[in-house]
Symmetry: C2
Subunit: 222 residues, 2 copies
Amino acid sequence: MEIPVDDGIVLYTYWRSSAAYRVRIGLALKGLAFESRPVHLVREGGEQHQDAYRGLNPQQLVPTLLHDGHVLTQSLAILDYLEERFPQVPLLPADAAGRARVRALAQLVACDIHPINNLRVMQYLERDLQLPADARTQWTLHWMAEGFAAMETMLAASGETGTFCHGDRPGLADICLLPQMYNAHRFGLDLAPYPILRRIETACQQLDAFTGARPEKQIDAA
Amino acid sequence: MEIPVDDGIVLYTYWRSSAAYRVRIGLALKGLAFESRPVHLVREGGEQHQDAYRGLNPQQLVPTLLHDGHVLTQSLAILDYLEERFPQVPLLPADAAGRARVRALAQLVACDIHPINNLRVMQYLERDLQLPADARTQWTLHWMAEGFAAMETMLAASGETGTFCHGDRPGLADICLLPQMYNAHRFGLDLAPYPILRRIETACQQLDAFTGARPEKQIDAA
């Protein structure tokens, strides 16, 4: 059930953006209605570089979230804000050590896989370094495999891993994992070495909050 | 003054690691004593890849922090943990929107500049892509300049910017900015376009917590 928010939540999003996909899942898990405003990252050189959007988000990245008169950027900062303003359906555990574990798993993806493979980096590899397509794909797969191997090891080593990354409720680490799994499928990463990640992906895909946030379900999907 | 911590805090660190440098500043701002255990990232192929350290940190990155029986990884997750366990000298403002702003500034550096320029990426550019030294330096400077330009714009646009990134107390955004400024000096980035970043850097360097955390002050400095 969606909770109406008086002043509304607006999300500037792109269907295939991992970072926007994270926020879509977080909003859905908390049952928060929002208005999607698509920003096309590729068409006409990228709408994120146009003045109107740059004024909201000087990094020229998605997502940007509007709420209560605030303009919020950076997906993890947005998710922390939502956690503080809408504590129902918590995305983080209650104990400090558990929270640190979940944040570390989330940041493994959000700091150490995704930004290195993001659109602007891939464009630099192609345009500035003239790297051919197969080498660019190898680049993408390399950083995913390195990050996923570490994440699989961390999940295997901890008794706190449950149906989801942390216990039996989905949270911030799952929110970061699922969009990265989407990218892994898209680029053809061999997922055989990561049985725990695959199991958690399957568990998340049973939930409407995760499936409804998928790229192909978005109003701007190609 | 340092607050003794009964069970001790141990930080696995490397003098030039931006991420370890962040945690050193955070610990110092909170007045928390800690034991430094250096992990040499370059010598003998990198001590972070040896089994003993990999067992603590499967990502084979620094820092790792030990406290109260917990093994914590990812610098921002560690800083959030410290904020929750040791709320004295807060690193984040009290209001949700202010916290989101500070987190977004911190993540601009910690997600969108630093990981793209980190050692393992530079090694991939050199070893796997055979990119010459001048092109590698251009890569480094490109991502710093892009990130700093956005950060300068965000700081200039907000009435919440003060002596520091957020008001007149140093916090998480400053903690992320200062190590990135160190890297900018090291690689010779032209800092003229970023007067606010330079002003905040100068303000931070008046404080012992920031100067004591500098790379050249560490026990493993070359």
